[in-house]
């Protein structure tokens, strides 16, 4: 294998980035411990009263106990993420690389976790956890991340922003770093709901408290939202109609999902979609769409044709010829033989049938019979 071409990126990125972050948090805690100790040092260099001394030591103890708790939390997360990294790499080592012509069998070993990831992204939490448990792939699936998201998405489905806002507060620094617009959008939505209910004074108060801090970043959005005060829900006026639309809540949920994925170093799309797009393109040939198409071809079914609708066709600059009788590849070792009617079968098939039928070959598709001596070999490069 050459450098960095494994397509299992999300499998490792997710636990590793979390591990890296957590060990960084450990460093902050340790820095804090150092600063606490230096206050002790400071105290020992200048004279102070017993009262002051007692207060200093009590303060120090309180801070140290707090840091101890934090360190304990950090340790727990580190342990879990280090275990996940290890388990996932062990899994990759154990399934190895696909042997020639064994790609389907090999992917069978990856399929369950790819499906579990898709189920989680779609919000099918029970299916995902059941699948993970049954196939014993819990360490290979990010159920924990979606468990955290579940309550928030449920809240948004009930048109309630509170859980989502809480989540924003919890991850404020990191969300700011990835330039998340989520919190601002949630605030706008709460504001719009007040306007929808005609609670104008509250809306104004709300905008002062929660919207104005964003004015530097999103001035245009903010102004447009504030102007909504002048309209009612149900307005036909273009940008304002959109603000009041029910779809806004769905978009909010999507925005949250995206930020959740970014925060956890997950790709925005599932491995399933990524694989299907690539795979369906690679398989898409005009022959798939013929009515007599091989049913082993996923693209011979209506459902997969629909899935592949907007995807590009595969490219073939070399011929790949399969004998319809033996299903063997036709090449120089098993050359293609042409019947007088133009149908092509492999030499192997022709010889097999001729041996049984006194030198007569009958084309199974057209029913035409001919003497094997009338067949002509084709040379295909």
């Amino acid at each position: 294998m050459t450098s960095n071409d494994s397509i299992e990126t999300p499998l490792l990125r997710v636990p590793f980035e979390s591990l890296r972050r957590t060990t960084r948090e450990r460093k902050y805690v340790i820095d804090e411990v150092q600063s606490v100790v230096s206050t002790l040092h400071e105290a020992s260099t200048r004279p102070c009263s017993r009262d002051e001394g007692e207060k200093t030591l009590d303060g120090v103890l309180q801070r140290l106990e707090g840091l101890k708790r934090k360190l304990h939390e950090t340790t727990k997360v580190e342990e879990v993420e280090a275990r996940r990294c290890k388990a996932r790499l062990e899994h990759l080592v154990s399934i190895g690389l696909p042997e020639k012509d064994e790609a389907t069998k090999w992917n069978d070993k990856r399929m369950d976790r790819i499906l579990a990831d898709y189920m989680l992204r779609r919000g099918y939490h029970r299916s995902a956890t059941q699948l993970a448990r049954e196939r014993q792939i819990e360490d290979l699936v990010d159920v924990h991340i979606f468990a955290e998201a579940h309550a928030i998405l449920e809240g948004l489905a009930r048109q309630d922003c509170s859980a989502a806002l809480q989540w924003c507060a919890q991850h404020r620094t990191r969300l700011r770093k990835i330039r998340s617009k989520l919190e601002f959008t949630l605030r706008i939505q709460e504001f719009v709901e007040l306007v929808r209910q005609e609670r104008m004074l509250e809306a104004i108060a709300y905008s002062r408290q929660h919207l104005s801090p964003w004015s530097d970043l999103y001035q245009a959005d903010l102004q447009r939202a504030l102007a909504a005060l002048a309209f009612r829900a149900g307005t036909a006026c273009k940008p304002y109609a959109a603000l009041f639309e029910e779809g806004a809540w769905k978009e909010l949920a999507e925005l949250f999902r995206k930020d959740l994925y970014r925060l956890h170093s997950m790709p925005l799309d599932s491995q399933l979609s990524i694989h299907l797009q690539a795979g369906l393109s690679a398989l898409k040939t005009p022959q798939s769409y013929s009515s007599t198409s091989n049913k082993e071809d996923p693209l011979s079914t209506e459902k997969f044709q629909k899935l592949a609708e907007q995807l590009p066709w595969s490219k073939h600059v070399h011929s790949k010829l399969i004998c319809a009788i033996t299903r063997d590849l036709m090449n120089e070792h098993n050359p293609p033989m042409v019947l007088p009617n133009g149908a092509v079968y492999s030499q192997k098939a022709v010889q097999m049938m001729a041996a049984k039928n006194h030198g007569i070959f009958t084309c199974p598709k057209t029913g035409v019979s001919c003497d094997v001596n009338d067949l002509r070999r084709a040379y295909i490069s």
Binding site: F16, T23, L64, C85, M111, R126, W313, S314, I322, S381
Partner: protein, 389 residues
């Protein structure tokens, strides 16, 4: 593979470092707390000098190097994590979405396809939960074809061929119509053969012989050679491993028959033998590394990989993924179509019609084959076709 192994070693080191660092840091912190608690006690004792207590504490802390210990351990953990990070960077593609088009796959259809996959794989429990959660309406219809099949498969795995034999008998007419009599005979005989061998191993030669006499009759003609071999087995029962018939005792015969059964079954159901979702994902896993590289490359050259309507390169996925004969003209490098069919020259070389007409320059005069010295005219070239598999 090697990259994974390197990364795994680093991950193991991280786990070890993390354990060491966590326990040492916790110890040091506890020690620190203990010392400060002690100092606090001393301070409340009557007559204690404030600066004495502080100085003593300071002395104990610097002697124990408590703080430095914690800092060193943390640094070591960071070092190990950074190394793991480098190994991960080296093993995995950076942006797995680079080749992704901004099109959304129809989620409703995808859900149905997944439900069908779960049922086809025999994962009925998860299948049922999934169908419920995804709100799939025609769930019963998706599941039904596989219900009978999986009951039989489970029995084959438990070394019971009765249900499979019964199934083959019940579906004999349909199987014959779709696969031909010879194939059906061969499949039936495979089942009887395995049942005979199983009988021989579990109940002895007398019972096996009885089974043979009762069941091998219809296959006398087509399978004589094999029947002779099976009868030969009867005298080697005691040491089957050393007999010339060892291959007949291999456990893989059972999984082969199970696989053959599910192929036949899916075939009759008009289904693909392999789960189409799995096949598509497998094709994707082979195509992705190339497509990702290509997408990066083309983005650098300002070419748009994401809008072309044919992939810019040929992907070699292997025989497993060739479901149709594809003829590509060696001259134009284009695939044949019904309007541009492959043409056989008298010398046996094959070109597409369009290429041939270009070479002939639209005349009936003879021209030279581009691949050999032979001459041909348009009139003595003829169209050929590759029947569907």
């Amino acid at each position: 593979m090697e990259n994974f192994e390197v990364a795994l070693k680093e991950a193991e080191k991280v786990a070890k470092r993390q354990r060491a660092c966590a326990s040492k840091s916790a110890d040091s912190l506890n020690k620190l707390i203990l010392e400060v608690t002690e100092a606090r006690k001393q301070l409340s004792a009557p007559g204690a000098g404030v600066s004495d207590v502080f100085n003593a504490l300071e002395g104990r802390l610097s002697k124990g190097d408590v703080v430095k210990d914690i800092a060193d351990n943390t640094k070591e953990l960071h070092g190990a994590v950074n190394k793991l990070g480098k190994a991960v960077d080296k093993a995995f593609v950076q942006d797995i979405c680079a080749a992704l088009r901004p099109v959304q796959l129809d989620e409703g259809i995808l859900d149905q396809v997944i439900a069908e996959h779960l049922y086809q794989q025999g994962n009925f429990t998860v299948g049922d939960t999934f169908v419920q959660e995804a709100g799939i309406g025609n769930a019963a219809a998706l599941k039904k074809p596989y219900t009978a099949m999986h009951a039989v498969l489970e029995q084959i795995i438990a070394r019971n061929l009765e249900p499979a034999l019964r199934w083959a008998k019940e579906h004999q007419a349909q199987l014959t119509a779709s696969n031909g009599e010879a194939a059906v005979h061969a499949f039936e005989f495979r089942l009887h053969q395995l049942q005979f061998l199983h009988c021989l191993q579990s109940s002895g030669p007398a019972k096996a012989l009885e089974y043979a006499r009762a069941n091998f009759g219809p296959y006398q003609e087509s399978e004589m050679a094999e029947i002779q071999r099976l009868m030969g087995c009867l005298c080697f029962v005691r040491r089957p491993g050393a007999s010339p018939y060892a291959d007949l005792m291999a456990p893989s015969l059972w999984s082969d028959v199970a696989r053959e059964f599910s192929r036949q079954c899916c075939g009759l159901l008009g289904q693909a033998c392999e789960s189409p979702l799995l096949v598509a994902v497998a094709a994707g896993s082979l195509a992705l590394p190339t497509l990702l590289k290509l997408a990066t490359l083309m983005a650098g050259q300002n070419q748009d990989f994401l809008t072309c309507n044919q992939l810019p390169v040929e992907l070699e996925l292997g025989r497993q993924f060739v479901f149709h004969s594809v003829f590509a003209c060696p001259v134009s490098r284009e695939q044949s179509t019904p309007d541009n069919s492959p043409m056989l020259l008298p010398c046996g070389h094959v070109l597409c019609k369009v290429s041939l007409q270009k070479i002939a320059k639209g005349t009936v005069r003879p021209f030279k084959c581009p691949y050999c010295p032979a001459e041909a005219t348009l009139n003595n070239c003829r169209a050929i076709f590759f029947p569907d598999i």
